[in-house]
């Protein structure tokens, strides 16, 4: 029997992806089921792409963003936060666990925090179980 492991897609913004690199440099260990996609800014991630990731077989989607307090004048992370909160409400309505989409505040020097947070998230997603959207949508009642 094949042991199921959660598959997590992480959209990392420019700054926090160097935080993810930091985790590698400093030798922190974090689960290998997180696949990172580097994007210029977390606010560029279209929520449709998050939904698409879930459709294509991801069990959870993670967005890492700069902390809004660290930005100078405008905070694009605020947009990301609002979008994620809206998307979670929508997922909750259609009957998908809302904890499958998360936001994580990571600065460029916080490799350790990234590693520990991701391990925690992987454990939580393991408890939620596989999403199996394809199975749910294709199965006939």
């Amino acid at each position: 029997m094949v042991v199921w492991k959660p598959k997590i897609i992480a959209f990392t913004c420019w700054c926090s992806s160097s935080g993810v690199d930091q985790a590698g440099f400093e030798g922190f260990k974090y689960p290998a089921n997180v696949l990172t996609v580097r994007v210029p800014c977390s606010a560029i991630v279209n929520p449709s792409l998050v939904v698409k990731a879930l459709q294509e077989g991801a069990d959870a989607v993670l967005l890492t963003a700069c902390k809004p307090v660290e930005l100078r004048k405008i905070a694009p992370s605020r947009i990301t936060e609002a979008r994620v909160s809206l998307l979670r409400r929508l997922l909750n309505t259609v009957g998908v666990e809302e904890d499958r989409v998360r936001i994580l505040w990571i600065s460029s020097n916080e490799g350790g925090i990234f590693a520990s947070e991701v391990s925690r998230i992987v454990e939580e997603v393991e408890k939620l179980g596989p999403l199996n959207l394809r199975g749910k949508m294709i199965e006939q009642p």
Binding site: P47, S48, V51, K52, L90, V94, G95, L133, R134
Partner: protein, 274 residues
Amino acid sequence: MSSPETELRRLARSLLEKKAVDLVIGYEKSEAGVRPCFISEPNEAERLVWNPDCRLSLVRYLRGFKEKRVGIIVKGCDGRAIVELIKENQLDRRSTFIIAVECNGVYKPVKYGSSKLGRQIAEYCEKCEVRISPIRDHLIKSDVKALERPSPKNDGEPLDWLSLFRKCLRCMACVRSCPFCYCTECSIEGFKPALVHKLVDPVELFTFHLTRALHMAGRCVECGACESSCPVEIPLTRLYHELNEWFREKYGYVPGVNLEQAPPPLVFKEGEKP
């Protein structure tokens, strides 16, 4: 007092005779109830009708007549749609003459073959609070008593949305009938590779409906155009209502009620931090 229908015809005739408008968009009688009609001659104004079958939103047609002065017959929800479209710079208020008719709710569409007796008011009309368009040039009051409204159902019972999405035929009738789906390049069909293909992978229906819901969030005026044009009767308005509730809770914003209030995603206050 004359009936709203007579008043509507008289108004449309006088507007066209005075050349205040080039065209009046309204409803006319057809075999299946009513259908939209475009009237440009004063003596054609007798074709206009007004009854609880006029559920279709005519705002969709306004963008096709950008060069003309258009008179349009609107219900409360259609008026809200016009307000939202003006905010999004899609309509010119000066070239539109808005004839608001007091709406008492519309009937659900008749299923093919079923009788027309004992028809029910649509579900989205039960929740409606705006019966008269918030923006108008002329108001026609209706003297008919409000349609029989069943006691407001508690819509707490959750629907099995995944199995409802499974029924979807991808006919795009919801997209084509919606007053807000005006993008010339639709993000659902326009991406390369496409976000949703027009093939038969059922799992893409999930992405399609969630994307559409996300695009309607904070804009949907719950006119029910998508729901009543859906051939498999997916109660889409209920899904969009849920997201509008999020906007109401977070920003206190109700789409289409106030012309001065900008949509929250477009507003940014300096120094605003979560």
